[in-house]
Every structure is written in structure tokens, then in C-alpha cells.
């Protein structure tokens, strides 16, 4: 059998994936990631940002993010999330009801709301906590809380898979008769300055969870991260970045 048709299809697919989203008249996305500290073999905090830009007057409505990270990053072994926060309580009362040992990180989100001819921006606070698990995977809940002009709380749920976090984003209502809230920028920190408690000789003793374990070797080109963004209009955007290898290693 001739391989020409297969090659043609492969080339066409490669061309499609290589085209920037803007060339298709769609939405674009960028992202960045950092380790703090950035030392091979050490425990670290992972921070990442993503930003969405729509080639239209109205912002694109995000419906989901597939966040891909190096599979050998020690997130599951980090010691983060050694308790779980009930989803219903989190939705009703916010992250303050969650056990301290369930906290896994924090962040913020910038959202846009078209109100009349104006585009109003709002910054929401994000808390990352461990949720209950029924299937053996670590479940991470992102509580996104905005106060003004739209007071709302949304809880996003994802499960930690090797190298992948799939985060569905439901439509977020805003003001009556106004369109849904659009997420345009997000900053998330996994780890960081967290205080946990453990029982020692009958007392509750505070400690800091270890943090995410970095591999001892850095891949050529740095640690790769990428994300796929899905939008309500059926559009899709991809973004990728890499955390450079520490110098001297």
C-alpha cells in the first residue's frame, strides 16, 4: 500500500496544528510557569499564569483547560493535601471551612463581564484544596470567589493524572440579563507558604508541607508545560512554555 495518502494527511494535520490560533480568526492564549526555588532535586512551588486574548469585541467564554506538566514532577508525592474539603461546604461557605491540611495552593483570576457597551473587569481569589476522592486519584478543587461587581463563587474540580490536569469550567452567570463571565487571566500557585498540623503526643503541631519534588535531571530545553483551552463557541487555543534548566546543573 502506498504511504503517500497517510503522509499527506499527516502533513495536513501538522500544518493545522502549527497554525497560530489568530490565523484562524480565533482566540489566542499564552502561558508561563516558574519554580520557586528552581533547584534540581529540591522541593519547590509551582506557579503558572495563562492569559486569553479574543480577536473579537466580546471575550471568549472558557469552558475547559487541559494543563499538561512533566509527568515526573513530584506533585502527588508533595505532601500537599493530606485532608480533604467537602465540596458542598466549599461551595456554600468558601475555602475558610476547609481543613488547613487540605490547602494546596492559591491564586487569582481576572474575569471580564460585558455590561452594556462596557467591559467590566473583576479580580477573583482562587483557593486550591484537596477534595474527596472515590477513585484513588487526588482531586483538586479550585474555589474561585469574586466580590464586586459580581459576587459569586464557583468551584472547579479536577483530578490529578500523571502529567495532566483537566479542568472543566462551567458557564459562570453574572448580572441578570448580562452575558456569562469570561475568564481572561489566571495565576495559580501550587504549594507555597502553607501551614499544616499534625498530632504529636496529643498536641497539634504546625509544619510546612514539603512541596513539589523537582526531578534531579532537567530535560533538554527545560521542563515543558502546555495547556489547551476550549471555548463555548467551539474554538480552541494552545499555549506552551518551558521552565529553563537551572544554571550550573
Amino acid at each position: 500500500m502506498s504511504r503517500a495518502p497517510l503522509i499527506a494527511v499527516a502533513l495536513a494535520l501538522a500544518l493545522c496544528t502549527a497554525l497560530p490560533a489568530a490565523a484562524l480568526g480565533a482566540t489566542t492564549a499564552t502561558m508561563s510557569a516558574t519554580f520557586t526555588p528552581d533547584r534540581l532535586g529540591a522541593a519547590t512551588t509551582l506557579s503558572f499564569n495563562f492569559q486569553i486574548a479574543a480577536d473579537a469585541e466580546a471575550p471568549a467564554l472558557l469552558t475547559g483547560v487541559d494543563f499538561r506538566y512533566p509527568v515526573n514532577l513530584g506533585i502527588a508525592t508533595s505532601g500537599l493535601g493530606v485532608a480533604s474539603c467537602p465540596v458542598a461546604a466549599l461551595e456554600a461557605r468558601g475555602p475558610s471551612v476547609c481543613p488547613p491540611d487540605s490547602r494546596m495552593g492559591s491564586g487569582s483570576a481576572l474575569v471580564e463581564i460585558p455590561i452594556g457597551s462596557d467591559l467590566v473587569q473583576e479580580t477573583a481569589q482562587v483557593a486550591l484544596v484537596a477534595g474527596p476522592s472515590q477513585n484513588g486519584y487526588v482531586h483538586i478543587l479550585a474555589s474561585v470567589t469574586g466580590e464586586s461587581p459580581v459576587a459569586a463563587r464557583v468551584v472547579l474540580s479536577t483530578q490529578l493524572q500523571p502529567g495532566l490536569l483537566q479542568i472543566p469550567v462551567p458557564p459562570i452567570p453574572s448580572l441578570p440579563e448580562a452575558p456569562y463571565v469570561a475568564v481572561v487571566r489566571m495565576h495559580l500557585i501550587l504549594g507555597g507558604h502553607l501551614t499544616y498540623y499534625e498530632p504529636v503526643h496529643g498536641h497539634s503541631v504546625a509544619y510546612q508541607p514539603v512541596g513539589i519534588g523537582l526531578p534531579r535531571r532537567c530535560p533538554r530545553g527545560g521542563f515543558p508545560f502546555s495547556a489547551g483551552f476550549g471555548f463555548l463557541d467551539g474554538g480552541h487555543a494552545e499555549a506552551r512554555t518551558a521552565v529553563a534548566c537551572p544554571r550550573g546543573r
Binding site: N72, A76, V210
Partner: protein, 160 residues
């Protein structure tokens, strides 16, 4: 031996690195009507954290039981409930190496448990010809001073 006895043992342990692992490998030699000797494995010991490499935790410590010696475990947990490990027990009579896999439950617990199986992949000295499989039970302690502790119990009958 019941698996749920183990976490208490970890709480009693102390020490930096806080990675304490307990592995019990009680080994008894019996005769086989067919041919070779068979090790009836049922062992226990305590390990401490040595280092980590991303999603891999390396623990080491004393194994006690019928095959006393030093046990070194490379434990991999990358978010998949299926965890895996490589291990080597080095004793006076030789060493035993193998790999193991299991399923981890309750991952947001301070000490999730796992259960699975191990396969012996090789040996040296007295155990140069050992082979076989067995059951594996364990606990992975994730927090505080005992971070990265492993509690493992291995049971099997392995010709050598």
C-alpha cells in the same frame, strides 16, 4: 498480619528525614517434594527517607525477619493510583531484588495505604536463583516529620 496495624508504628518513629519505612519479610525455608527450596516470605522492617527524584521516593533501612539486611526501595507515585516500586534487600547471605506494583487508596489521607503484588527479578549469593511472586501491602506516610515513610509487608513463596 493485618495491614491496618502499621500506621501506629510510623507515629512512634522519629528522626529527621522522617521517612520511615517498615518492611517485614519473614522468610522460612521449606522442602519441596518436587525439587528446589522455597522461601516462604513474610518480612518486616523500618526504612528512612534518603532522597527524592521528582515523583520517585527513595527509602532505605533495616529489614528484619528471616532475611535481615538493608532494604532500599525506589517508590514511584505520579498521581496514578497505580504505584510502583523497585527494591533490593541486601543481607549476609546475598541479595534479593524485585519490582512491585499496587493500587493506592485514599490519596488525601496523611498515610494512604496500597496493596498489590511483587515479582522477584533476581538475587545473588544464597539467593542467586530466587524467583517468584508475592503479595504486597503498604502505607505511604506523607506528612510532617515522618514524611515519605513507607510501611510494607511482603508475603510469598519463592523458589531459590
Amino acid at each position: 498480619m493485618r495491614f491496618d496495624r502499621w500506621p501506629g508504628g510510623l507515629d512512634r518513629s522519629a528522626g529527621r528525614a522522617a521517612a520511615l519505612a517498615v518492611i517485614v519479610v519473614a522468610v522460612a525455608t521449606t522442602s519441596s517434594a518436587v525439587a528446589a527450596r522455597v522461601l516462604s516470605v513474610h518480612d518486616e522492617g523500618h526504612l528512612h527517607f534518603i532522597e527524592s527524584d521528582g515523583s520517585e521516593i527513595i527509602d532505605e533501612g533495616a529489614a528484619t525477619g528471616t532475611v535481615p539486611g538493608t532494604l532500599r526501595v525506589h517508590f514511584v507515585y505520579n498521581g496514578e493510583p497505580a504505584v510502583s516500586a523497585r527494591f533490593t534487600i541486601s543481607g549476609h547471605g546475598g541479595s534479593i531484588s524485585g519490582r512491585a506494583g499496587g493500587r493506592l487508596n485514599n490519596p488525601t489521607s496523611p498515610a494512604p495505604s496500597f496493596r498489590g503484588a511483587f515479582t522477584i527479578t533476581g538475587g545473588s549469593g544464597r539467593y542467586a536463583h530466587i524467583h517468584g511472586t508475592g503479595e504486597l501491602f503498604g502505607v505511604f506516610t506523607r506528612r510532617g516529620r515522618n514524611k515519605y515513610a513507607l510501611v510494607v509487608q511482603a508475603i510469598g513463596k519463592d523458589p531459590y
